[in-house]
Symmetry: D2
Subunit: 318 residues, 4 copies
């Protein structure tokens, strides 16, 4: 410590030292502080470490929080459930949007049911031939919250091709006269008491949605968990329901780490088969970075170059 | 309460009532008691509810526990990590064994490195043309533990076609003269300090393993986590390392809920291409029950027949 | 590993090795497996590590579990709340029973409201001049469960001076003609919806309980949490309510680690003041082992003999 | 929903609605978000719900965090351990400071070893006859952090009677010539590897501290956990060590909820007995608000006025 100096506080300058504190924090990768615990099921829960609680709010319809997590980056939670995480939301939103827009010969008008977060619109607007994206979410405050805090979507929210409507998606589709090339269902799962299970019914699909699709129209919807243990909850039922309304139906899935499950989507066409080759391409699409990583990997495993992982999954019994 | 009766305890008979207690427990599906918490990563952990702690032990090499979990059924944990869960271990073990044994024209001799749990042997022994399965695990006590407590594998452990060796898989392969049609790597991931990362090196594959494969020989190994966030840890490296030693190499993956991740396997042949059609069939195989469920689903979603799920993943903003 | 031996399983003898496993477990003091999580308050919960789940049941009135915890020894939980822990239940039960029985000149008849666990009776029966202990608990199955599994209380349950009644304590007191020297309230806190808050009311104390006390009679009741943050919940109210019914009232408290709080008791006399000297002696009583430890401590703190603790509470800023 | 209005985002004004969000948050007392988990012991941990993470830093010596907790109010954590919570820090600091300053006939000069948080100084400065409080803490950044963020201590930090020194308390005491009326040990427990266990040794007390006490001098130190399960860790040893150096020694304790334990202090005098009456007054002091609450309580428990608590501790078996 060297020789001590006696100081009266009012004269002390501490900003440098406090700067020093923050600096040290940056350097400290795995310093743990606080945890967010999410109930996955009655008998299963998980917790992820936080850097900070960025924003929280309660809207007319739901609770909303933006957390800075160590594992998943910034994470949007609605009603305590992981909604979208910086690190892997692209898996959900690319699978929701790109297959339909790639498959459609010339998509000009897109209607998104829900999607207030803005990420579905962001992906749709990447397609230059798209002239108009109508995004219809019921919750004004979620939209304001996401527009304000989700930097990745700010540009999309300000894009002139985006038309934002605050309304119930069913009511809005009914009152509109125009038809769409692609309609996207970016809605919550049909949770008991949730107000949106009506948007998954045969009568809605046949009576409201189908009439709003253009000649080559495609409808794609998120279809809930599709893992080996969960795909019977609603995924298989949504798929089957759509088969009763549309001739051409295909389903595909991808594992989303921050959802702790494999997720499912169902896509339908009113004009032509979404053939197997599509599914195949789509699988390439969804696993694109894995595939490319496999092909580009240069590392060779030797005693000297051994690459290790944080031990999880299979433990040693070799 | 009716009229109270005064009783001296020694004469009381309480077995019926205690029976009643247990009975009530059976009826009580979601009665919670205790939790097992597993660290998935430094900044991510999860907990699953337990019915009971069935057995625990510490061997020369590792800690081992058999838990009766509410969500995954009976679960085997080694060194605190989920090793195998009743509800989805088939996904891991079917992917490990069946593609290789289906693809090989006539597999007679199989060598399993590790696999002390017995499930890999169980799946291999389902192939009637297989005459001999050598299972070589280093940990006598894990083998004894699993043989004693994993009822699903008891028959396999007692099968006369199974030859169990307690030894280091590398030493054992070196000392043996016979060659094998299929060699299976059911080893731990190359965790730092773990004794088995040598079994993932180029020198082991080329110098020890390859010479023990017959003309049409196939080698398949579990290749660690292969999810969108984790496939670069070791999966891509194992794949690339094998490409330096074998001409025909293919990789495939499947999501395993109790591993909280998508898992990877790499399969190699010394004689002929493991072509795309294989991968395709294999994907059908791995997602067999999902596919069949989709095709066999009868439920149609209407307001009246609404099917709900325990809300997770996407929350409402429709 | 030395030279490997090839074995066919049916001939293997594994009991020795399994014995070895259990042995190793004994040696392994802090091997962690599973946790029990208890909600202390909406915004506060704690978890303790378990060795095993000994027994669980559901009775007509409540859920019950006996857990073997690492920190508190065997712990009895009712409706998910810590009820009694091997390591510190003596603090609760000695404070409940001994002050009253020491203070009463000649206690012969004791009535315990509740106390189905058997520990209150066990402490009362230690007083040789006590001729009869009536213990009246409403829950037959809890009594059976505790009698069967709480070894520390088995002798008390079999003691001929104990008269066990299964009935509501209020109804039972009303129907009885005999009076008691000491009545003990070993009841649950007046939790909303709980059936026993009536046993804390002024009308019960004056109309039912007081008439059943002999000339020198003493009534003592547990009075809920009495910590700096919690003593206003019910402790102060129970104390004040009793002051409206009895002339001589005193309160005392002790910290009970497994209750995560300081606990309170209120004692009343119908004949003579429970004077301050009592409270003082009683404080000596409750902190007896601390006091004796202080007086008997031989260790002197030097650099060489430094005694350390698992860091908790105040962190370094010396 | 009424009629929907089509809006282009750039013109939208959302501040009101966001204000609405925050407002709603205020109203929502028990909305849960995130948790802080603290390890109390290897086999015991607890978690408290957070409103927000206010500040975090890493200093040369320790990690520091200021959390806004739902249960304890603002809480200061050092190296992950609860250091001081808004709701009950007064129990610790009043017991540390007031008994010594009340007992001393005329305390003018006070030396605080440690105490960088500022709360000990705050309490000492409440005594108007105190002319000078020297507070000597080794960690400049903790002092800066607390001065900046602990509003309750800001006035104390700016008080002209406070002399703040950044130095090791032992070195500082040695280099000073002046003597003190009261010396206060507000140091960390002697945790293994912690730099301050030397400040608890016989040689320090006799060789360094005692010579710096004036004729009527008093030394008081926090003495670690003193609960029924923990008082042998260091409390009894500190007490006994001081008995080898000072003639007049007394110990006292109080339960501190946010420390999950009862805490201990030891006070010594070089001139006169700290008699029992002191201990008695002091107990009145430390439990002052409990006592006054008991005396002032007006509530009487009736069926109509029943007061309930969040069920914890004893569950129903009445």
């Amino acid at each position: 410590m060297g020789e001590a100096v006696e100081i009266l506080l009012p004269t002390k300058e501490s900003s440098l030292i406090n700067g020093g504190i923050d600096q040290t924090v940056e350097q400290n990768g795995h310093q743990e502080c606080c945890w967010y615990e999410e109930e996955i099921d009655d008998d299963l829960k998980w917790s992820f470490a936080l850097n900070s609680i960025l924003h929280r709010g309660v809207t007319e319809y739901q609770e909303i929080a933006l957390l800075d997590t160590k594992h998943f980056g910034k994470a949007l939670l609605i009603d305590g459930k992981m909604q979208s995480a910086e690190i892997d939301e692209f898996v959900y939103h690319e699978n929701l949007i790109h297959p339909a827009l790639i498959y459609h010969p010339n998509p000009k008008k897109v209607f998104i049911m829900g999607g207030g977060e803005g990420s579905a619109a962001r992906e749709a607007l990447k397609h230059k031939n798209v002239e108009k994206v109508v995004m219809c979410d019921i919750d004004q405050e979620v939209v304001d919250f996401c527009r304000r805090y989700l930097k990745a979507n700010l540009e999309a929210f300000n894009n002139e091709r985006l038309h934002l409507i605050i309304n119930d998606a069913k009511i809005e589709l009914e009152r509109r006269e125009e038809k769409y090339d692609v309609i996207v269902g970016d809605l919550a799962d049909p949770v008991e008491g949730g107000p949106c299970y009506q948007l998954y019914t045969k009568s809605f699909y046949s009576g409201v949605l189908k009439p709003k699709l253009n000649h080559n129209g495609i409808f794609v919807t998120q279809a809930g968990p599709a893992g080996v243990l969960t795909h019977k909850e609603v995924f298989s039922s949504i798929y089957n329901t759509l088969k009763h309304v549309f001739k051409y139906v295909t389903a595909y899935t991808a594992h989303i780490p921050s959802f702790v499950d494999t997720w499912g989507w169902v896509m339908v066409s009113i004009s032509s088969s979404l053939n197997a080759s599509f599914t195949y391409e789509n699988n390439l699409l969804t696993s694109y970075n894995q595939s490319s990583v496999l092909l580009n990997e240069k590392h060779v495993y030797t005693e000297e170059s051994a690459r290790f992982i944080h031990g999880h999954g299979k433990a040693y019994h070799g």
